[in-house]
Symmetry: C2
Subunit: 239 residues, 2 copies
């Protein structure tokens, strides 16, 4: 085999991983995620003003080789789709560049990569240009599952549906369902609390699940809470 062939083989063996590192607790990562991190060449992390990314790296880094390279991907905090699309394309290009040099890239996601993650947008660009063998998504423990576990609450039982909402948009419509998860409450918490007073729902507020400053507790409907940490979710059970 000449060196050209060897180079080609290395390129085609380069893989793109979406790695779910779990909610924050370093022990809530899977054996498969650890296995991949132990041999990875490049770690891709979306760069924004949020702390989510640095938490994901905190979890991952103890498993990574000492020489691992960090690739920061700019992700502007905007809802302007054309700006977002340009950012995703640029991120996907950088990942492909690395892969063409024969380096495997692991994109880190706090929680699970299939649930409300930038990874899904990168895949829409990368899936058509990579072979199926070059992509591996590694599921992760979600913050909602970890929060439910911490207070020993079922997310759902029996024949009940579970409805997961990324925010509080349309909350009133969904209140007829027995189990709700509101993924990002933050500044909307006072409104959520007000709704529980109306509906009589029980609510668990979970902030920084498995991280420093974790706070998970059943809310008193009479509490007055203002804006909470960005990394907060609410579990609601209608009576």
């Amino acid at each position: 085999m000449n060196s050209n062939n060897r180079e080609e083989q290395k390129v085609s063996a380069a893989k793109f991983y979406g790695v779910g590192v779990g909610p924050g607790d370093p022990k809530l990562i899977t054996l498969r995620a650890v296995e991949v991190l132990q041999e990875i060449e490049v770690i891709a992390i979306p760069k924004s003003k949020m702390e989510r990314e640095s938490i994901a790296w905190e979890i991952a880094k103890s498993h990574c080789p000492s020489g691992v390279r960090i690739m920061e991907l700019e992700m502007p905090m905007t809802s302007d789709e054309s700006i977002l699309r340009a950012a995703w394309q640029s991120a996907a290009d950088k990942i492909q560049d690395e892969m063409q040099k024969g380096n495997s890239v692991a994109f880190l996601t706090l929680g699970d990569p299939s649930l409300y993650s930038t990874y899904s947008y990168l895949l829409t660009i990368l899936e058509p240009v990579l072979s199926p063998e070059q992509i591996e998504t590694i599921p992760g423990i979600t913050a909602m599952a970890a929060a439910a576990a911490r207070v020993n609450w079922p997310l759902a039982t029996g024949d009940e549906p579970l409805v997961i909402l990324p925010g509080i948009e349309g909350l009133e419509e969904y209140e007829k369902y027995p189990n709700l998860v509101l993924m990002k409450v933050s500044r909307n918490l006072p409104e959520v609390l007000k709704r529980t007073q109306t509906t009589g729902a029980q609510a668990v507020l979970a902030t920084r699940v498995g991280q420093a400053g974790e706070n998970i507790r059943v809310l008193d409907a009479q509490e007055e809470l203002e804006k909470v940490d960005y990394l907060s979710l609410v579990l609601l059970k209608q009576k």
Copy 2:
């Protein structure tokens, strides 16, 4: 400290764990679950005609001490609530007996213990009689997250809700939502397929995720499928 005190201390140190062992792939278990299994005295497994329990044990056993004891808990396959309640009470009594001898018990759950698991029913009996420090729920990777990962599908993105249904009950009502997970389809698969022809939804059928005989694929709406394996779920995306 006399031996009586020592005995009491051992009893109060006995713990009850709900361990999510993930969907089937032995590598999709968390480091925390492995840590608990490595030191456990008693493994509790619900006994029924389903294979779920033996799969959970297959995943767990490589991590357990060689002398670990298996406690089988009878769980009748019935919807008669009085029979079920009696079975849960009997199971909870057996677990408490072990804990009173100073033995920690790990109840295994395929997937996540907070989602449609017998563990939730046991907790309603055991939580009032144990101290909070004696209970630990360890979240697990769900079959739906693993299925989505295998086909690189997002479960949900952006501001879309995700609705999880334990079966197909009331499916038509939920079809207005963009992302649906039907946890147990089995004999209802032909009806689900028929609905996708009506609504134009894309469907992924996932059978035995991460287990021998795994089959995960995007369905062709024109396919004719009869009853599938009990361990099947469907991911639906409305167009």
